[in-house]
């Protein structure tokens, strides 16, 4: 039997590492002297930084509370000129209680890419948000749905509960995320730097990203 590419690659790796002692690797020995967060912040400061960084990358940030959320969503849909919207199965129906005159699709896994291409807006929650980088992470939980939902429509409204869903930094975010779920990390709307290395917004993903921050303990 001829040697497979797998066996040959592993043989070459082992031959190449002849100078290395063949011990069982222990990744916990890697020195990690970097910081787990770049500042100590109050929950309000953390949310404020998230809003600043989202805005810096051209996401539109809106502040509201649970009671006023349906009105905020209705206003954003009207402002965008939305005629049809899609929501994943876990989005509470009362989020849309103030919305009228718009066709709402409830996704249960059957909408095709072509159908979604005719839908204006998607409304979702999120897994968490990272203040220092202005990043929202979606993990396909029921309030976020299949990845295709937040990709094909041109307008994404994303709702974040503050301060509970906001972490400071990347090192604080990763332990909360489950890599066995497909994850989508979003930092501002679709953009490109491919023309003269200058960032312009709006290529294939949603070109408008509305982020609603819910503050329920505001005085």
């Amino acid at each position: 039997m001829t040697t497979t590419s797998r066996d040959e690659i592993l043989r070459r790796v082992r031959q190449a590492l002849g100078d290395q002692p063949g011990t069982t690797p222990d990744p916990t020995t890697i020195p990690r002297t970097y910081q787990t967060t770049h500042a100590t912040r109050t929950p309000e400061q953390r949310t404020h930084l998230l809003a600043d960084n989202l805005t810096d990358y051209r996401a539109h940030v809106h502040h509201t509370d649970t009671t006023a959320l349906p009105t905020t969503i209705a206003r954003l849909l009207t402002d965008h000129g939305t005629r049809s919207a899609v929501i994943p199965p876990g989005v509470p129906t009362d989020w849309l209680s103030a919305t009228t005159g718009i066709h709402i699709h409830h996704d249960h896994g059957e909408l095709t890419a072509h159908q979604l291409d005719t839908i204006d807006t998607v409304i979702t929650g999120c897994a968490l948000a990272i203040a220092e980088t202005g990043t929202i992470v979606l993990d396909t939980s029921p309030d976020q749905g299949r990845r295709i939902l937040t990709l094909v429509p041109d307008h994404h409204i994303c709702i974040i509960n503050t301060p509970t869903q906001v972490v400071d930094s990347l090192p604080q975010a990763l332990p909360h995320l489950d890599p066995t779920h497909p994850l989508t990390w979003i930092s501002g709307p679709s953009a490109t730097s491919d023309i003269e290395l200058d960032r312009v917004e709006g290529v294939h993903g949603p070109r408008t990203l509305d982020v609603i921050l819910i503050h329920d303990n505001r005085d």
């Binding site: 890697i30 295709i148 989508t184 294939h204």
Partner: protein, 494 residues
């Protein structure tokens, strides 16, 4: 087999032409100076940048030193999560595996996410020969593909084109590949991006097979990570039924936690952003979400040969950010095409000769495509000492020595083209080892200083001084001054 062919001009030959292209020079100067300033700002936001850089290097070194272990762990994790793992010893092996996988789906067209690994293997050409059309979906790759051009930058393959040139390419070429550009297309970047969006959307919605690379593969979980900006990556990773991902074996990292380092350093080093707009991570397949068939093709293609070189293996830490290209004075003036390979700039000058050997004149010229100024080392987010490896490779080319080729340890002979350099160095070494000879040489040199030419005679020596001034020789040698310093002091009035 690589895309580096015997017939390609050496770096100096290609650079002699490209440096005369004033449009190219202007485009590169504009783009690289823009990104240099932005990168400096983005990295200065993080007070622990040196620690992140050190951790990035340490994670990569740790993985490389146990690469066999981590590759087997990765294979098990991907397989458990519903993926299929293939191993490709070289470019032909990888192209054959991928072609067979596409044929098995019955499809004849694929969408592609920008991937350096597929550039390296020449996958698009192999697919064309097999009757499969590959659509590049990254904006810059699309520009290059429409123009039948070659990429000139790792991150922005069309960096050598300005907005007006891109508008013209879209105007004349888009129609041949699908939806044409609108007649009134302007050269504003937003309009150009819109034209690309419309052109590619029908391809995303229709195509059943996608090909991608990956920035990282996580051994403990079997997770693939792709960082991108435009959303074309998400389209390719989400919409098709079948996903084929080709990744170099050195892209492995041990744990999920390791992303906390690279997701901070890679976006800031490449596009100078706190975070790139989109990152997708996936593990095998997920019922009801995304491609239901996932193939991972692990590529060697010279990486294990590189790993065998204890000085040169640090090149395998590279996370393809392209910061070294953007700061390199040679890259900025010569452009990416002069390097003749998919990996241009300082990292290409050390990666290509190691992946594919130094037997071609082009590859043997690449370690010399540098002034050794060290700017590339300074900006590298995984601290690859590029100047050190450049000098190491120059030594190997001029003096020969042990190396590994296709998994076999071998000794390469000194290159024929460097005989003058070798003779000079050998003579210098002998003289420096014989104090009497050295003193006599120095004395002769200082006494005849008035007669020294500004340019050296002889073909090779003249070539050297064509772009350099000979250093002026002082009237006295240091030894002479040292021996007579007491007498000199007495002569000097207090």
């Amino acid at each position: 087999m690589s895309r580096t062919h015997l017939g390609l001009p050496t770096f100096p030959q290609a650079a002699r032409l490209s440096t005369r292209d004033e449009q190219l020079r202007a485009n590169l100067r504009h783009a690289t100076s823009t990104i240099r300033t932005k990168r400096a700002t983005a990295t200065s936001e993080l007070s622990d940048w040196p620690q992140l850089r050190a951790a990035g290097a340490a994670i990569k070194d740790h993985t490389l030193h146990h690469l066999d272990h981590y590759l087997e762990q990765l294979e098990t994790a991907v397989t458990t999560a519903g993926g299929t793992v293939h191993w490709a010893i070289d470019a032909d092996d990888a192209n054959r595996i991928i072609t067979d996988l596409i044929h098995a789906t019955g499809e004849s067209e694929v969408v592609k996410v920008k991937s350096m690994a597929t550039q390296e293997t020449g996958l698009n050409e192999a697919l064309t020969q097999a009757g499969i059309t590959a659509y590049e979906t990254d904006l810059a790759e699309l520009i290059v593909q429409l123009d039948n051009d070659r990429p000139s930058h790792i991150l922005v393959p069309a960096i050598h084109k300005n907005r007006t040139q891109i508008r013209d390419i879209f105007h004349t070429r888009m129609g041949a590949w699908g939806r044409p550009a609108p007649d009134d297309l302007t050269d504003t970047p937003a309009d150009l991006a819109e034209a690309a969006r419309l052109h590619l959307r029908e391809k995303f919605l229709r195509t059943k097979v996608a090909i991608s690379g990956a920035n990282f593969m996580i051994a403990e979980t079997g997770t693939m990570v792709v960082l991108e900006s435009e959303g074309n990556g998400r389209m390719c990773l989400t919409l098709p039924d079948t996903l084929i991902t080709l990744v170099g074996i050195e892209k492995t990292i041990p744990t999920w936690r390791d992303l906390e380092v690279f997701l901070q350093t890679l976006p800031r080093s490449s596009t100078a952003e706190r975070m790139n707009p989109y990152t997708t991570t996936w593990t095998g397949t997920t019922l009801g979400d995304g491609p239901q068939t996932f193939h991972l093709v692990l590529l060697d293609n010279g990486r294990t040969d590189t790993l065998a070189d204890t000085t040169g293996r640090q090149a395998l830490r590279c996370i393809r950010c392209s910061a070294c290209l953007n700061v390199c004075p040679v890259y900025e003036r010569a452009g990416g095409h002069a390097y003749g390979t998919p990996y241009p700039g300082p990292i290409g000058a050390i990666l290509t000769p190691q992946l594919h050997g130094t037997t071609t004149p082009l590859n043997a010229s690449l370690p010399y495509a540098s002034t050794l100024c060290g700017a590339c080392y300074d900006v590298c987010p995984v601290a690859i000492n590029i100047p050190e490896v450049l000098v190491h490779l120059r030594e190997r080319i001029t003096q020969g020595g042990p190396t590994t080729t296709n998994g076999t340890k071998t000794t390469i002979k000194p290159a024929k083209r460097h005989t003058t350099e070798r003779t000079t160095m050998r003579t210098a070494a002998w003289t420096l080892n014989h104090p009497a000879a050295w003193t006599a040489t120095q004395r002769l040199t200082t006494r005849t200083r008035a007669l020294h030419p500004r340019r050296l005679p002889g073909k090779t020596a003249r070539a050297w001084t064509a772009t350099r001034d000979l250093p002026p020789v002082p009237a006295r040698t240091f030894r002479d001054w040292w021996q007579h310093r007491d007498a000199d002091a007495k002569d000097t009035p207090q």
